[in-house]
Subunit: 469 residues, 2 copies
């Protein structure tokens, strides 16, 4: 048996793709996938349909075996009853990977399960590996491979392994909206052949991938997953959103009834022993990934907070403490200097949180001196800056913040949170994100991301690995 | 002593406003407030500064006593040392309310406390009531009163009482971005005279106000607050975000050291006994308010979920169950009909959550019939629809959703959640919000809002009040 990297490389980096089931019907998923690949710029595409019709201007074939060249990857969107013969033809053709979108297999009861066993049996007669069924396929922008229209073309270091197909598109787009680009995304589907653990192993070796996100419901091979995660996570963080933690949720999960499926506390134990960072919603997943994507690890949990004085200082402080962060004790130098530089505008409070009145941005020196003073303090491991609408909307304040925070964000975690409404401030959010500063829509969401970053940093240290080495 | 409504009405609905401390300096808070009032269209404005200079084209006066007409409200942004003489002049002039922006009072130690006692003593020699100090003033769009530039002009039914001044502007703007308009917003500041409880009493009687939000740190008169909240909340929901729940947060709070300050579990007890809905972050505050603003109360906790099949169904189910909602058991009629109308596209799952493939929107009837079937089921108390990017971006799908969900949202709680990135979908969010459907950026956030709505509905029922009567 070949090793997983050798097997999966031509699937993630195919030289040619057959889109089987691409017809000219309005509701054709195959045509939808074909259009997505054309938009992405993938060069060698072969639509396959019973009539061998041309689709979207590309020559069609009535069978994958009619295609005059080698095919590395086949995307299959045909009715369930037609899947076995399609898999047989692909296997006979020597196609490396077959990604099956068609649903209605083991998740649909015993009859579906038998179908799965049938297609796996067929594939095993050759070198063909199967993804799915009920998979939304793979995305690899550096190979121009995608399953969804309008996919971002830029490639980055973020990977996703997902038991949910629909999640993959939203994940890629939301990542892009938050300034992150992906290396590889894979929708595992029912894992009749290739499993989430196979993909984890592949991504562990993939040089493009630096961070691995996972939405998992069950687990086919818990022991192998555990060993692999334990080995990988000190050098590539793994962020897990576990679906099916409630009985009702598990019942709806396409349950694979592996050893680890279901019990949330088992997963808690797995995560703490392997260093996996666990999150409990889509937005928390994205929030934590932004921090890991942009920021260095944290040397400790001592946080310095700068925000407008009053309520947000109090609430941000509450959130940090509740999440296990420690309000940093500023050095004597910092305290003395803050008392001096912050004096002019009444309403500023030189403690931690540093209460900095937004109007002080208009008094030369105060705003800049305050930031410079806090940022130089070596008693602080990470920084949270909470801005209100007035500050976010003022271009010169924002430019100053970018200039002050960007160099620090290369050395210590720095995040910005704001309570300003997103429709007003999205351009500003994006501007800061492009400067390397993660932006959160709420101070508490920012504190959660920093606390998870600190948790992962602790794990890396506990493995004897150099933090930010 | 007059009753609070008689006293506060001319302050919230002033015939004229003096802006004391409005100068022509760049960093003048007074000028900032004056500009905000001009933008709002408030007619009778009098800038006051030592030179009696004209500001922003308005005739200036050197003292409030020089103003030739009665003054109902004075906004004060002068250095702390000048505040007592300003309050004295306002009191002698018979100004009804003086809102003091200047900070540096009791929150700044014993010296500041003495200052507060001094100005209260002066005000008590006349009819003048004080708001603050360290207050960001009041906002009442129906009287064209505001403290911040670019405030929305539309008035609505949402009120805020806030111990944080900076919160008030972000609150008003975020509310507007989410389709809500405010009746009254007040920043209490240090409450040297008028307190949060006074404002609560006033808002309880205010016919414009239907929902009261509160960001509170301490509480000067806990017993009166408790009695008032208990009386009000069955007819006007009160949503509380309590700041200063951590020791560190409490230390930074402008602590009023009242009986209820600090201990979070005391506040939990107060909330459960009074029906106050408690939230723990700014975004949760806004999420819950949107539900209360738009939706009827819930008859029970049985939720029906419609979303794309697979991961989001599982995760949404997990979130609902974890938050104390119950996955509704559909009626036999619903189950039979769903099995029929959903049959065509493989990949749909006719349980609860109803897994509805987005591609089925393109197959005539399936999408519409599925929604109509689920919405008619009387075994469901509330609905959560989770959409993925494909659905949100398609105009005809969105139009169909608006048409199907809007009538139901007048009868039972209906919310939409999406994991599509906000920068792509803000226009669609707004369109749905305008149709009366609250939109959440994450299924879990939507489930939290529905769970809080159910909690409040239970409280109203427990008071023997008719729900949605």
């Amino acid at each position: 048996m070949m090793d997983i990297v050798t097997e999966l490389t031509p699937i993630f980096y195919p030289g040619s793709i057959a889109v089987i089931g691409a017809t000219n019907a309005e509701s054709s998923w195959g045509k939808y996938r074909l259009q997505a690949l054309i938009d992405m710029g993938f060069p060698k595409l072969y639509p396959v349909n019973p009539e061998g019709s041309e689709v979207l201007g590309l020559q069609g074939y009535s069978s994958v075996k009619q295609i005059p060249e080698d095919v590395d990857l086949a995307l299959v969107s045909v009715p369930r009853s037609a899947v076995p013969s399609v898999v047989r033809e692909c296997t006979e053709k020597g196609v490396k990977g077959v990604s099956i979108f068609t649903a209605g297999y083991s998740e649909a009861g015993p009859e579906g399960k038998a179908f799965e066993e049938e297609i796996v049996g067929i594939a095993r007669t050759g070198i063909t590996r199967l993804i799915g069924p009920s998979s939304a396929g793979i995305y690899n922008p550096s190979a121009k491979v995608t399953a969804h229209p309008d996919s971002p073309k830029e490639s980055g270091c973020l990977a996703l392994i997902s038991h949910s197909g629909y999640l993959t598109d939203d994940f890629v787009r939301t990542a892009a909206a938050r300034g992150m680009a992906c290396s590889k995304v894979v929708s595992c589907g029912n894992e009749c052949d290739l499993t989430a653990v196979d993909f984890l192993e592949y991504l562990g070796e993939d040089s493009e991938t630096k961070i691995i996100a996972a939405y998992l419901e069950g687990m086919k091979d818990g022991r192998r997953f555990f060993r692999l995660a334990r080995t990988l996570s000190p050098r590539k963080p793994i962020v897990l959103w576990k679906g099916g933690v409630s009985q009702e949720g598990a019942r709806y999960a396409i349950s694979h009834t592996g050893a680890l499926a279901g019990a949330s506390r088992v997963w808690d134990a797995v995560c703490s022993q392997t260093g996996i960072v666990r999150v409990d919603s889509f937005e928390q997943l994205m929030d934590v990934l932004v921090a890991l994507y942009r920021l260095p690890l944290a040397e400790g949990r001592r946080i310095g907070v700068i925000c407008s004085p009053g309520g947000f200082a109090v609430a941000t402080c509450d959130a940090c403490v509740a999440l296990g962060l420690t309000m940093a004790q500023f050095s004597e130098y910092t305290r003395e200097r803050l008392a001096k530089v912050m004096l002019p505008p009444v309403g500023t409070i030189p403690g931690n949180p540093v209460g900095l009145s937004p109007v002080s941005a208009f008094i030369p020196g105060v705003y800049r001196n305050t930031y410079e003073t806090v940022l130089q303090d070596e008693n602080i491991d990470m920084f949270l800056v909470a801005l209100c609408t007035v500050e976010v909307e003022d271009d010169s304040t924002l430019a100053m913040l970018g200039e002050l925070l960007t160099p620090m964000a290369a050395r210590k975690p720095v995040v910005v949170a704001t309570t300003a409404p997103e429709d007003i401030t999205l351009p500003q959010y994006r501007w800061l994100a492009e400067k390397g500063i993660p932006v959160y829509r709420d101070p508490r969401a920012a504190a959660i991301a920093l606390a998870k970053l600190a948790e992962y940093s602790d794990f890396v240290r506990s493995c004897g690995e150099p933090v930010n080495g």
